[in-house]
């Protein structure tokens, strides 16, 4: 009744469609460059780890991962810590301009990164943050803070109001109630929101590339630049790509039931 005829076949075909390109990337990352260019092989005939070895030993490569992780973690911390109180406010109170503020946040989540690339460049150069992880972390707040507010608002609304009232009757001050009672209650929600902030900051390239030049260059930018400069080192490119997929693939299992919620701005 719930499903449609032939669903196994449809699902199977769709999953193959999703996995095939990824398999091809993984496949290429284990091939030598001569095997990639000379023959079409469905699996690596002379498997090699040389590309991975190069990435893990060459500082100009692995520093990219560290730079990316730095701004992603910074961004996640900033986003969650400013979004928590706001989510509580949106969930519990009505106040002047709340609906407009909500819409304004939504519109920022939707704003094209390309519009902000140049002004961000000027802004962060002017205040001396250009080419630091802080610049990218703050820039990514423009879409991650609204997202975190929405996801957390859903979770806070799931906490019964009576709990707040009882806590205040028991003499809890607001900050103490917030940290001791509310935060533990919505811990899973914070985890989900943190995951999505991490993810959206991790996948973004345009702003991250514009706001860095040398010392904070993210892995995504290193991938594009090296490829154009050094001719085509396909194996290395594939290996670098595989390594960027891993963080997402590792944590995806834990948030599998919340994925729709996170992408739908907490509205599902």
């Amino acid at each position: 009744m719930h499903s449609i005829p032939g669903r196994r076949l449809i699902m199977g075909l769709f999953l193959v469609f999703l996995l095939l390109p990824i398999y091809w990337l993984v496949n290429m990352s284990f091939k030598t460059n001569s095997e990639i260019v000379s023959t079409m092989t469905l699996w690596p005939h002379t498997p090699t780890l040389q590309h991975y070895k190069r990435i893990f030993t060459d500082e100009s490569w692995y520093s990219g991962y560290i730079n990316s992780l730095e701004y992603v973690v910074l961004n996640t911390i900033i986003s969650i810590s400013v979004a928590l109180p706001a989510a509580y406010a949106f969930s519990r109170y009505r106040f002047l301009g709340d609906k407009h503020l909500f819409f304004w946040l939504l519109s920022n989540r939707m704003a094209p990164a390309a519009v902000y690339a140049l002004p961000f460049f000027n802004l962060y150069s002017a205040i001396g943050l250009f080419d630091t992880p802080w610049a990218v972390a703050l820039a990514h707040c423009i879409f991650n803070v609204p997202l975190a507010v929405w996801i957390l608002e859903g979770f806070v609304s799931g906490v019964p109001r009576e709990i707040d009232e009882t806590a205040f009757l028991d003499g809890y001050s607001f900050p103490r109630f917030f940290i001791k009672i509310l935060v533990p209650l919505i811990a899973s929600g914070i985890g989900v929101a943190a995951f999505f902030c991490f993810m959206f900051s991790w996948v973004e390239l345009l702003l991250a590339r514009t706001l860095t030049s040398v010392s904070a260059k993210p892995i995504a930018a290193i991938m594009t630049r090296t490829v154009s400069a050094a001719g085509m080192d396909w194996g290395l490119l594939a290996a670098a790509g595989v390594l960027t997929i891993i963080p997402g693939a590792l944590v995806i299992w834990f948030v599998r039931n919340y994925i729709a919620r996170g992408f739908a701005l907490g509205r599902v």
Binding site: L25, L106, P112
Partner: protein, 324 residues
């Protein structure tokens, strides 16, 4: 709901307001400032009024021609991917296994493309589609198609569209799946008793229950495809020629490539305005739908949390206006 009015809540919202204002309002002010001026380098600026905007919206000038052409391409692209991804997403959501470990496995695999950095998505398809080293390009050429996304406009378009379908259909599917899961078992039982056909169940129960998530899916897919940059840029670089140059790519070319601040700023503002309008329309529709849902929910109490009060939700079987 019974929210209390409390203006002090602004203090709780203040950090968010400041952070977002710092990254949104300040830069936007710069954009407005630039859009009215012209520069000959050396930080010398001249007042240009609405000159850039006039040029931008006039297809006979170079700037206007490029902008309107990329806007047209972008709208076409958005419509095509919506037309493919929404039905496909619904079908995939309906094909989800019902229980067991396969559900989790399918969810994880579906979500995988969503979590790949956008430039790597581009890289994956760049590699996958190349006629010399990519499986797809190799097979297509072996099958007799003269496929090459670097030199042929249509091939480039197909590649970019298939890439987007690969990347984002899962999102639509996951959203629809979340919507489908919220339908109480009692609805299906009622439909079975009424002898409803498979198609009637879809039209009268599943589609109406999904329309809120579908709205969100369409909004997100429209917005994200309207500001797409990284993936086509990595695969085709906007080419061959200008055939896959979308608005964001054009904007970055003007702003960071030519450093034409005035033109880029004017383009940014118009671009942002379009997004804002579409966003507002969706937001209004969405909140109205939400209110409707709440009214409905309160008029049939205790149906959703307790599906055991079976057969009560039969009214839902009568197709709503506009759906049938």
């Amino acid at each position: 709901m019974d929210k209390t009015v409390n203006q002090k809540a602004w203090f709780l919202v203040l950090p968010v307001f400041l952070v977002v204002a710092f990254s949104a309002v300040l830069p936007l002010m710069t954009v407005v400032n630039y859009s009215m001026q012209d520069t000959f380098g050396n930080n010398q600026f001249f007042w240009n009024g609405v000159g850039w905007f006039k040029e931008l919206l006039d297809p006979s000038t170079d700037l206007g021609g490029r902008f309107l052409a990329s806007l047209g391409r972008n709208l076409f692209f958005s419509l095509v991917i919506l037309a493919i991804e929404v039905p496909l997403g619904i079908v995939v959501a309906l094909s989800m296994p019902r229980e067991g470990w396969t559900v989790a496995a399918c969810l994880v695999i579906l979500a995988l493309p969503l979590l790949i950095p956008w430039n790597v998505v581009g890289t994956i398809w760049q590699i996958f589609g190349r006629p010399d080293i990519g499986l797809l390009g190799y097979l297509l050429n072996a099958a007799g198609f003269d496929y090459n996304y670097v030199s042929n406009d249509i091939d480039a378009w197909v590649t970019v569209i298939v890439m987007d379908v690969w990347h984002w259909t899962s999102l639509v599917a996951l959203l629809c799946y979340a919507g489908l899961k919220s339908i109480p078992e009692a609805y299906y039982q009622a439909a079975q008793i009424d002898g409803a056909s498979r198609w009637a169940v879809f039209k009268a129960i599943q589609l109406p229950k999904m329309n809120r998530v579908l709205l969100i899916a369409v909004l997100l897919r429209f917005m994200d495809s309207f500001m797409i940059y990284t993936e086509p840029f990595v695969v085709t670089g906007g080419g061959p020629g200008n055939s896959t140059t979308f608005v964001s790519i054009e904007l970055v070319k003007i702003a960071l490539g030519q450093f034409d601040l005035g033109k880029a700023a004017a383009l940014s503002l118009v671009y942002n305005l379009i997004i804002l309008i579409v966003c507002w329309i969706f937001y209004t529709v969405m909140t109205n739908a939400g209110v409707e849902r709440k009214v409905q929910a309160s008029s049939e109490p205790a149906v959703e949390p307790k599906p055991s009060v079976a057969l009560k939700p039969v009214p839902a079987l009568e197709p709503k206006e506009g759906v049938a």
